[in-house]
Amino acid sequence: MGIKNKYGFMAGFRENSGLMNPVIKLLLEGGGLSTAQMAQVLNLSEAEVNRQLEQLKKERILLGWRPVLNLSEEDTGVVRAVIEVRITPERGGGFNRLAERISRFDEVESCYLMSGGYDLLVFVSGSSLQKVAAFVSEKLSTVDGVLSTATHFMLRSYKEHGFLLDVKSEENSRLKVTP
């Protein structure tokens, strides 16, 4: 297991953290608390915590849950790549329509509009190198408006969503009682 940065240091989030919902704060701290535990910490009923989570989902602030796994390619057979995509902006919608269209492919995990030498940074995954390559050549690069793609395959992860992957859970070296 990796180790989350335990004090929840997430650059960018904290400037308005005063405004943030306490439930979100607890989630961001990454302690993996159950709703019952969150309820205890926040002095709310479990039903209230669940209601707030539902509300956050309804407002599309909380989109969903994903486990962060530490599995190598041999374990999962998943190949991941990052693709730099140049596209033609459209009158009226700019990059949005094309970006959304590309995002809808199941192979696409994340998609961002970037400044600089290309427009979209697209994270894709597939069950083999061939499948990812086929997605790029047959689906992505043939979309009308896509000018070019540059595909980089990922070789190894060191950190996923704030979790270090190759650091063993450190033995707790704190003394049990100190002044």
Binding site: F9, R14, L33, Q37, R174, V177, P179
Partner: protein, 403 residues
């Protein structure tokens, strides 16, 4: 051969820390949830650790000035100007030490003549009393009380004062009680110090961990900077306990006197820790605020739980310690702590480890994860309920005993 005769008399008579005794019981047990730890559970933020690694790579492995790196002293001054409304000349009013512990020790050694009386509020950090004894001073404890949320009052000071008192040690917010003083209370203390011509040693190691109302240093009250040695460090707010790095600020003459003792004993603080400290002061605020916010949530939780369980606990305004009153169980704080440890494997430190005035209380450090705090709450509740049931049985059925 009896080698004890070689030990200095005042050291032979020095008691061991009560925490040490308790530690030895806890160390032999497994699966203990320890609320007995006096340090952050967070590791030092990575950017600070990385700065120290970089310093090593760059060959920063030498002695520094006795006073400490001038860059660090400048950074300390900027930090105090910004956050404490205090200003000290980096050249001769700031001394970098090996933690506040060393700063206190050299302050006592530089300032106390044999027989000089030193006042300090109690319950308090374990080393004040012995440090005074080691310099052949006379320790004059001043009690603080739960009814005042363990704030030190000028009235208590006045009743404890005796002729010959020269120094007053303050530790606000306080380990173990979390108590601290309002500005008005501090002003009354400051007036008392001026009236009685006391020099203040102000250990403000928990100052950044003040949750409500902001921290006020006694040194920034009118007329007090010249009679205060301000002591601070990086251990608690920046989670840097193992780095052993702190500092003392005060009038140049006093800093020079302390520097002499420091120079002949410690020479200088570790350069690696000093480099880490510069990074902490310059870029550590975000991580520190994130940690403080978590401590506050944990405090709110554990204090609420203690009160629900029936162990009356004031809301500590600072530090990461709760100080619940366990006397309701009818047990001494020591019996309670040992019983709790044996029955439920939760460690809290008996309040008397912090001076006689801690009788009836235990210190619970909440610098530990929520899951541990929640579980500790459950176990303490079970233990207190068991004690209540036992004492109900011992009293027996009431009113219908056969004649």
């Amino acid at each position: 051969m009896d080698t004890t005769r070689f030990i200095a008399r005042h050291v032979v008579n020095l008691p061991r820390s009560g925490i040490r005794d308790f530690f030895e019981i806890v160390a032999k047990m497994d699966d203990v949830i320890s609320l007995g730890i006096g340090e952050p559970d967070f590791d030092t933020p990575w950017h600070i650790r990385e700065a120290a690694i970089y310093a090593l790579e760059k060959g920063k492995t030498h002695y520094t000035s006795n006073l400490g790196l001038i860059e660090l002293r400048r950074a300390i001054n900027r930090y105090l100007e910004k956050n404490f409304n205090l200003s000290y000349r980096p050249e001769d009013e700031i001394l970098v030490t090996v933690g506040v512990s060393e700063a206190l020790d050299i302050a006592f050694r530089a300032l106390v003549n044999p027989g000089d009386a030193v006042m300090f509020h109690q319950p308090c950090y374990v080393s004040y009393h012995p440090s005074i004894t080691l310099t052949h001073g006379v320790a004059v404890p001043v009690p603080t009380y739960a009814k005042d949320n363990f704030a030190l009052t000028a009235e208590a000071l006045a009743s404890a004062w005796q002729p010959g008192c020269k120094l007053l040690v303050l530790n606000l917010p306080c380990n173990p009680t979390g108590g601290t003083c309002s500005r008005a209370q501090l002003e009354a203390i400051a007036r008392f110090c001026v009236e009685k011509d006391l020099l203040v040693l102000s250990d403000e190691i928990y100052s950044e961990l003040t949750f409500e109302g902001g921290h006020v240093s006694i040194a920034c009250l009118p007329g007090m900077q010249e009679r205060t040695v301000f002591l601070h460090g990086f251990s608690k707010a920046f989670a840097m306990t193992g780095w052993r790095i702190g500092y003392a600020c005060g009038p140049a003459v006093l800093i020079e006197a302390m520097m002499k003792v420091h120079q002949y004993s410690m020479m200088c603080a570790s350069i690696i820790s000093q480099e880490g400290a510069i990074e902490a002061l310059q870029r550590g605020a975000d991580a520190m605020n994130a940690m403080r916010e978590q401590y506050q949530r944990r405090r709110d939780f554990i204090v609420r739980r203690f009160n629900e369980i029936g162990l009356k606990c004031h809301l500590p305004r600072g530090s990461f310690y709760a100080f619940p009153d366990v006397s309701v169980t009818g047990m001494s704080e020591k019996d309670f702590a040992v019983g709790l440890l044996q029955a439920e494997r939760v460690a809290m430190v008996p309040g008397t480890a912090f001076g006689g005035n801690g009788a009836g209380f235990c210190r619970a450090c909440f610098a530990t994860g929520y899951d541990q705090l929640i579980e500790a709450g459950t176990r303490i509740e079970r233990y207190v309920q068991k004690l209540a049931a036992q004492s109900a049985r011992a009293e027996g059925p009431q009113g219908d005993s056969p004649g």
